[in-house]
Symmetry: C2
Subunit: 219 residues, 2 copies
DNA sequence: TGATAGTATATTGTATACAATCGACTGTCG
DNA sequence: CGACAGTCGATTGTATACAATATACTATCA
């Protein structure tokens, strides 16, 4: 993979897992020296993050990690619920044996991470599973859109896992239902199951974020 | 606006209106010298176009304008129909007086362009109207997603206008219905009207693209 | 003392220089 | 005659140098 993409992945991880807090500044030269590269690939990486809504770039004033908020959560999830539903339906329509295997594999990975009680691992498995469904849709445009939407959604999920661990169980169960519908080739059910699962998560995460904002109103 | 964004706008126009044909190469230095700037902003501009699906960048091999195809059309419109529906519903929910004026204004512009018989002007007005609806949703995440999806859709619409002018009349009528629902504050009707309009366009454009592919199978 | 102009510094935006790689051409050898 | 290695040109990827601008600090004046 290219250097900017690789760097973007690393920074994205840091943002999703809160190693880089909301509001943190991203100074090009600083990052460049830290990774012993020049500003050129760093600039490219930051632009990738901007396209994903993870950082906000103000002209001549630099970039900072975007804040999380109830309003932003609602925006992201309103889009996500539609696009993920679309992906599940398409995956059910264009199902292929290899995708099927891949899906089951990743659900097991998800369950294993839950057993282990590792939040980060669970989120990683969850991202991998999502991507597998996206790929199974064989809709490259949809994949492109989702790849610019998912990372921000992951930030909220990670936030919520710490406060509402039952969300993980709901996620496993929901995904099992989605996978079953995809395997059965029923797009409508796959879409409905996906929307139900995401809508449920949305409401739970919303409570967590509301709490967060009540505690820290100065954000 | 920044230089890269301005340049991207210009190149985007050229691609949408077919001044840059599908498959055309975009050589960084060539563009740079043509506009009397350096490669740095050109590279950024090309990345913007890539994020919008207008150009395909292959590592170390350069960028070329993406091809249009029936398959790609279906991908784009499957996403578009959902996201535009969402935008219309949100706009209906969060309607404000200023948005209302703006909407009506742009529909009149659309009708005027149709009277004039100017394809390009009609498409420009159409883009402006779409953006107005997007903005009226007050959902910045949705706006971001749509801004990376619309340009590709515009390419197909421009293609179809030349062969199926009645599409423009249907667009005016459809948009009037959508605007009425938004003004009435009825999200469900706004969404349904939008999806009906886009679905209709989808089927007509599909025929045009099928024809195109039958004529030129070597693409 | 408070406001303001001026300056200094930090950081981004743009231009240029250098390195690496891909594709095409060509010449040689089997 | 065909296949293949080597070289050359074109183009992208990365690094560095320079220019422009925003912010913070300081000194001066009302």
């Amino acid at each position: 993979m290219g250097l900017p993409q690789e760097l973007a992945r690393g920074l994205e991880d840091a943002i999703v897992f809160r190693d880089l807090a909301p509001g943190a500044r991203l100074v090009e030269e600083e990052i460049a020296t830290r990774f012993a590269i020049s500003r050129s690939p760093v600039r490219e990486a930051i632009r990738i993050l901007e396209a994903r809504g993870l950082v906000l770039r103000e002209p001549r004033r630099g970039s900072r990690v975007t804040e999380l908020s109830r309003n932003d959560l609602d925006e992201v999830y309103a889009c996500r619920i539609e696009l993920e539903g679309l992906a599940a339906a398409a995956a059910a329509g264009a199902r292929s044996p290899v995708d099927r295997e891949c899906l089951d594999e990743r659900i097991e990975w998800l369950a294993a991470a839950r057993e282990h009680g590792d939040d980060r691992e669970f989120l990683r498995a969850s991202m991998a599973l999502s991507r597998a469904i996206h790929e199974a849709s064989h809709n490259r445009t949809l994949i492109r859109l989702l790849s610019t939407l998912e990372p921000q959604a992951m930030r909220y999920r990670f936030l919520a896992y710490a406060r509402a661990a039952e969300l993980m169980d709901a996620s496993i169960e929901g995904n099992r239902a989605v996978a079953a519908a995809i395997h059965a080739g029923d797009g409508d059910i796959a879409s409905a199951a996906t929307k139900r699962m995401i809508g449920h998560a949305w409401s739970i995460i919303g409570l967590v974020v509301d709490d967060e904002e009540a505690v820290e109103p100065a954000a």
